[in-house]
């Protein structure tokens, strides 16, 4: 999680000009410090949150620091289980979808860092979801891990070719699940 912000970062987060932020900083309304030996201003996270609250600026733009995971599965209990596992881990923020169609909408709105994608969806084959996301350059950074109960060597190869990063077989070891997610997101 980002702990220290420049005036430029703060201007972006608060959606005002950098000049305004500098003025607030210099007037002491936004607390922070100057980098020793230089005149660069730095604002710690705590001070930024305080400043935003005082000025009624929504905190939405401030990165929570958690990695966003979209869980796609048509089985509600599986979704619940994975959400539980990831929330308990504490490093992840989750959203869920139960069909390929919903997955598309959530991807657009939620902008996940990673999608846990069930291969057998009621409407669209996971392969197609994978290809659709990969075709859109906007989503180039989104990682995909396929989750499926069926293992077919050639199908898995095909999925990895379509742009999935990894594959997890159901039933899974929960440490293996978080392990694969953190590896793919390079969190270690």
């Amino acid at each position: 999680m980002k702990e220290l912000f420049t005036t430029g970062d703060v201007a972006d987060i608060c959606n005002v000009s950098q000049q305004t932020i500098i003025r607030c900083f210099d007037a002491g309304r936004l607390e922070g410090f100057r980098v020793p030996g230089s005149r660069f201003r730095r604002i710690p996270r705590q001070n930024l949150i305080k400043f935003m609250r005082e000025n009624d600026i929504p905190l939405g733009n401030l990165d929570s620091g958690k990695r966003k995971i979209l869980i796609v599965d048509d089985d509600a209990e599986i979704i619940e289980l994975i959400v539980d596992v990831l929330v308990r881990d504490g490093r992840f923020e989750t959203t869920t979808a139960s069909s390929g169609y919903e997955a598309g909408i959530s991807t657009q709105q939620f902008r996940p860092d990673l999608i846990l994608l069930d291969y057998m969806l009621p409407d669209i084959n996971g392969n197609v979801v994978c290809q659709t996301i990969r075709k859109n350059p906007e989503f180039a950074d989104i990682k995909i891990i396929i989750v499926s109960g069926v293992i077919k060597r050639d199908e898995i190869d095909q999925l990895l070719k379509s742009g999935a990063e990894d594959f997890i077989k159901k039933p899974f070891d929960i440490t293996e699940l978080t392990g694969k997610i953190t590896t793919v997101l390079q969190m270690k």
Partner: protein
């Protein structure tokens, strides 16, 4: 003409000249008549013209003989010959008739020729009337025909020696004599003999020949001994009456009332008497004759002379018409030929089909014939997939011996057969519709020349055919009708193929239903036919549809089970793990661990079943047997949980490399080693592995032997059945040997087990050597 003694050679020469005569010519005015009847399609008028002209009549009678026309008990006559001959033969004969050279010739001669025709008509009509009176002793048609042709000899003389004949006629006129006498005198033979010769040569009917020959003889006498000469008697009387009436000119100028030469001619009255015709009747005939002949002359157009120009015009018109008909016939003929070749094409296709052929075989057969028949480039025939199937079967024909069958992915956004031709026939440009197909083929079509047509059956496309057409569909020289024709032919042949394929689909479906039905009858409800399954798996590739159906069904079931069971298993396993994480009580933690392990075990069983039902195809490579054994021992160690398996490896001689999928074979060998380890009560007994070449040199032989508990005969028999295990329940899944046997077979090897209870087990594996 000077009178002189006849040189005997003259008669011979005359006979020679006459003999060369194949027909006599007709007058241009008559030709103009029949040509105009012909061009306007007036067939009965056309027939009447023939019937009224001696030249045409002789030709038709002669033709009737050549064509073996039988008069079926009736007397022969021109009318009957015309009726019986095919119309085209009559037309052909008439059109080939010679035309009397009238234009630019002595008008006197043309006039005489006309008068001779009128005379013939008069005799014909007169003979007909006489025959009518004495009917049924004489046939009227025959009498008419005989009368018409009685002076054919004179026509021949006029034709072959016009000057001499003109001179004879001239002399006859000046001497008031009969031409017959003068002909005898100058030529050594007369027109009756000449006529007889021609009648024989042209094969005119006998009775007519008799009339020609004898009509100046003493017919009264002759017919007493020769009843068939009665016709000559009739014609003779008719001749006399006609001459008395002064209708036409016969060329004779003797008085017809009296016999001019003793005994040779009877007076008309005497003949009439002998024929039982009263003088009143003769008088009546005489009275009717002028009008009757006038009608006939009108038919022939004798009274309306044509000029050379008019005649040429008529000939030109008829020629043009004939040319047009000819063109139409040529076109029609070509159309028929095309149709016939298409008929042959479909016929041969249909004859080549066997009722047991699978649709794809029929498709290949048709595509090959299609390429050959239409001289197309590459051909791709694809079949409409069954509902919900994502795959399409297709046949590609690159050349006469280069065909292949491929499976294609069905297009996701468009129907396989474009909407435009799904229910009706049209020729489309393939590149506008079947991009999805070309994308998947590894052969290149020349897209700018590739067409697409449907294979329709009952208004529904059962597939489509794509082909390179290197000749243009629309031809500049042939025009739209030809294109339309070609399109029609394509429609016909594709419909034949469509219908046949549709029936083959139905047939194949019925066969499959029947097999499934028989199977469901044979298998007790709720049990899988396990032994047959194993046999199937060991046999490898599934040689019969029934067996592969079972495997397919099992694979599908396993895939379904994998999907359906692994979700709840995930919940069981995941929830127990979450609970275990937050659990501090070690006993509860252990229990939760058990739950998780058992969920894993169930999942592994499902995976085994899935892999067994649809094993991945081997990816073979050359490998040393030692590498496989090492890998197998490592795997077996993991499987059995025995860290150091007591194994000995002996290599006999020089062992070749083997060509297999090393992962699959290592897995198989590992399963066998695991079984051997498990056969010892304490898992420490020795497993002895031997590697050597086999006698043939084609295989490498691996034997894996233990001296463990061994198996009895019954157990041995079931050893390679899936889920069969001799170990206490719950210990193992019983897939080890079944899977091993299957993997070895997949890699073109074989597996053999020998065992005795208490003595141990030996498994022998043969693997293909390099």
């Amino acid at each position: 003409m000077q009178s002189r003694m006849v040189d005997p050679t003259v008669a011979n020469q005359v006979e020679l000249v006459i003999h060369r005569l194949n027909s006599v010519s007709t007058l241009p005015c008559i030709a103009a008549r029949f040509l105009s009847h012909l061009s306007q399609g007036r067939l009965s008028a056309f027939a009447e013209t023939i019937e009224s002209d001696p030249a045409l009549a002789a030709k038709i009678l002669s033709l009737a003989h050549r064509q073996n026309i039988s008069y079926l008990g009736e007397s022969p006559s021109v009318r009957r010959a015309i009726d019986k001959l095919p119309a085209h033969a009559v037309r052909e004969a008439v059109l080939a008739v010679k035309i009397y050279p009238a234009f630019g010739r002595n008008e006197q001669r043309v006039l005489f020729r006309k008068q001779l025709v009128v005379h013939s008509l008069a005799v014909a009509c007169c003979a007909e009337d006489i025959a009518e009176i004495i009917s049924p002793r004489m046939d009227t048609h025959l009498a008419y025909s005989a009368g018409l042709l009685h002076d054919i000899g004179k026509f021949a003389l006029d034709e072959t020696m016009p000057r001499s004949f003109a001179a004879i006629v001239e002399q006859a006129k000046s001497q008031q004599a009969s031409t017959t006498t003068l002909e005898q005198k100058h030529l050594g033979l007369d027109h009756t003999i000449i006529g007889k010769r021609l009648a024989e040569k042209w094969r005119l009917p006998n009775q007519i020949a008799l009339a020609i020959w004898l009509h100046h003889s003493n017919t009264n006498l002759i017919s007493q001994t020769m009843p068939e000469a009665k016709i000559a008697q009739v014609v003779q009387l008719a001749d006399l009456i006609a001459r008395q009436c002064n209708i036409g000119l016969s060329g004779s100028f003797d008085s017809p009332r009296f016999a001019s030469e003793a005994g040779s001619t009877d007076s008309a009255n005497k003949i009439a008497q002998l024929l039982a015709i009263s003088p009143g009747q003769v008088e009546q005939i005489r009275l009717n004759l002028p009008e009757k002949v006038e009608q006939k002359a009108e038919i022939l157009g004798l009274n309306s002379p044509v000029t050379a120009d008019e005649y040429c015009n008529i000939v030109r018109t008829v020629a043009a018409q004939m040319a047009q008909k000819q063109t139409e016939l040529v076109l029609e003929n070509r159309r028929l030929q095309t149709a016939l070749s298409h008929f042959d094409f479909t016929k041969e296709f249909l004859l080549s089909i066997d009722s047991n052929d699978e649709p794809i075989d029929i498709a290949e057969n048709f595509a090959l014939r299609w390429q050959k028949f239409y001289q197309t480039g590459m051909v791709c025939l694809y079949l409409s997939p069954p509902a919900d199937s994502p795959y399409i079967k297709a046949v590609i024909v690159e050349g006469p011996s280069q065909t292949k069958t491929v499976m294609l992915n069905a297009p996701t956004e468009t129907p396989p057969v474009p909407q435009a031709i799904a229910n009706s026939f049209a020729i489309l440009n393939a590149q506008d519709y079947t991009g999805w197909l070309f994308e998947q083929l590894d052969v290149k079509f020349d897209l700018s020349h590739t067409k697409l047509v449907p294979l329709l059956s009952a208004g529904r496309a059962v597939g489509a055919i794509i082909f390179e057409l290197h000749y243009p569909l629309t031809s500049e020289t042939e025009g739209p009708p030809e294109t339309e024709l070609f399109s029609q032919q394509l429609k016909t042949s594709t419909s034949v193929a469509g219908t046949v394929l549709d029936m083959a689909f139905a047939c194949a479906n019925h066969r499959r239903f029947a097999e499934q039905f028989v199977q469901s009858l044979a298998a007790p409800a709720g049990t899988l036919p396990a032994p047959r399954l194993t046999a199937q798996a060991v046999a490898g590739t599934g040689s019969t549809p029934a067996k592969s159906d079972v495997l397919d069904a099992l694979a599908e079931m396993a895939a379904g089970a994998a999907h359906e069971l692994n979700n709840p298993l995930s919940i069981i396993s995941g929830r127990s793990q979450l609970l275990a994480q937050s659990e501090t009580d070690p006993q509860k933690k252990q229990i939760l661990g058990q739950i998780q392990n058992n969920a894993k075990e169930i999942s592994a069983i499902i995976d085994d079943l899935f892999v067994f039902a649809s094993p991945p195809p081997p990816k073979s490579a050359l490998i040393d047997h030692r590498q496989i054994l090492d890998e197998a021992i490592k795997l077996a160690s993991q499987k059995t949980g025995v860290e150091q398996i007591n194994v000995s490896i002996e290599v006999v001689g020089n062992v070749k490399k083997i060509f297999v999928d090393s992962a699959q074979v290592a897995e198989a060998v590992a399963n066998i080693i695991s079984n051997s380890v498990d056969s010892y009560a304490d898992s420490t007994g020795q497993v002895k592995i031997t590697a050597c070449g086999d006698d043939t040199g084609y295989f490498v032989k691996l034997t894996i032997a233990d001296t463990g508990c061994g198996m009895d005969a019954e157990t041995l028999q079931k050893a390679t059945y899936p889920f069969f295990s001799n170990l206490p329940a719950g210990r193992k899944r019983g897939m080890g040997l079944a899977h091993a046997a299957q993997l070895i077979k997949l890699n073109a090897g074989s597996l053999n087990i020998t065992s005795r209870l208490g003595d141990g087990t030996t498994v022998t594996i043969l693997l293909p050597a390099h």
